[in-house]
Symmetry: C2
Subunit: 240 residues, 2 copies
Amino acid sequence: MPHQQLISRLQAVSGLSEQDRTRLTRLRYKAKSLADGEYVLRQGDKPQSCIVVMSGLLSRQRVVNARTQISSFYIAGDMPDLPTLHLPVADCDLCSVGSSTIAAVPHSALREIMNESPGLTHALWRETLIHAAIYREWVENLGSRQALGRVAHLLCELTTRMEFVGLADNGNFRLPLTQQDVADACGLSVVHVNRTIQELRGLGLIEWQNHTVTLLRPEELKAASEFSPEYLHELQPSAR
Amino acid sequence: MPHQQLISRLQAVSGLSEQDRTRLTRLRYKAKSLADGEYVLRQGDKPQSCIVVMSGLLSRQRVVNARTQISSFYIAGDMPDLPTLHLPVADCDLCSVGSSTIAAVPHSALREIMNESPGLTHALWRETLIHAAIYREWVENLGSRQALGRVAHLLCELTTRMEFVGLADNGNFRLPLTQQDVADACGLSVVHVNRTIQELRGLGLIEWQNHTVTLLRPEELKAASEFSPEYLHELQPSAR
DNA sequence: CGGGGGCTTGAAACTGATCAAAACGCGTGG
DNA sequence: CCACGCGTTTTGATCAGTTTCAAGCCCCCG
């Protein structure tokens, strides 16, 4: 149900009118399954449609200085290449981590509904701004924190975002990342990520096995990484 | 002339119709001068207007892990707090580096012209997307490069952006940053930034004195930092 | 059963941080 | 005009966090 994903995401992002929700329901789309490591988009592509993540996890990445750097993760409901609506040529790769499913919605259809509804324009714009805020938070994470804080912050962010779309329950969720992926996202070596995760385990802050993460003491983990969720700019559950 | 700054910036970003340009000319604004270190906006503020940088330099910053991290710089023509149109509460401080001048345009006026013109909506949205791409580039910079590459990349980015608005001529421009500011932006210590700059000087790549930077061998500097300007998504001069 | 990817461990090497102090430049007030 | 003070740049020495290299292990999949 791609419509439902998209609707509930945009609803959380910005609030939608009844009309806008039915507009979204009428969107045509093309569903697709992705295998682990499969690319949705390559740097330089000029896609004619935008993707909505239905399930799984995508990473935005690029090879920098002979190392692959991940600059963001996208979970169900996210639209990673929404910027291609206004910046036609992609400047990063988009890659599936583990298997995922996505829906592709033509640019033309999106432009159409945005013409009809300022509310939807607002919601989609806002969605891109939230992701911009996430990139900034990553700048702060990579620039200012050392290994333990970086990994902890990443986990806090992913948990919180997963919770927002109902994919984490009580700090427990499925996370298909390998330690190499974490290293690529946090700007660390795999070896050091391994030791850092062990430290987090040793402190009794998390469990992480079989691609399943559990935050044992979320408050302490947040404190260790100075995580505070305001930058995600989600509407409060009460307002949803 | 705030109108001129804004117009030529948006023109470069997206192209504007004759009508849109006159719409921009009619915007009311309030000009303001800022002293070194003066704050335009503090985290948590809910501004009712957006700022256009007229001259000087602003930094977006936040204290993380007992260190101030700069996550972006803004130069003439930029609108650093455009996101507050859709994300009302600011999540970073905005601070003048050296003395600057800005113009404040009420949110209401911007909403008005966006209602009238899809082209302007497009241009402003695109402006926010370009800055998002810059944040991503910074993630890659901080995550993947070591000191020399980081500083070199920052210089390449600033030169290129300055050139786009006519503030750099032949790799030579005024840059009010202290070495401490560079350290805060690059996630390094001042001491190490100092040694890194000396290394760049020693390699004959740059001159930097009295807040004036000159790229002596731009191509080598770009190579050293793998800089390529596509992520800035500027229209080519020919198209402007 | 074999192979390979991911995880784990150890030791050595390096990049960059920290601490401390000196030199420099510049504006202010005496 | 000089003395003072403060912020910025520079230098040296030591220390810490992280990388790199290398090897072994585990476990799942074919």
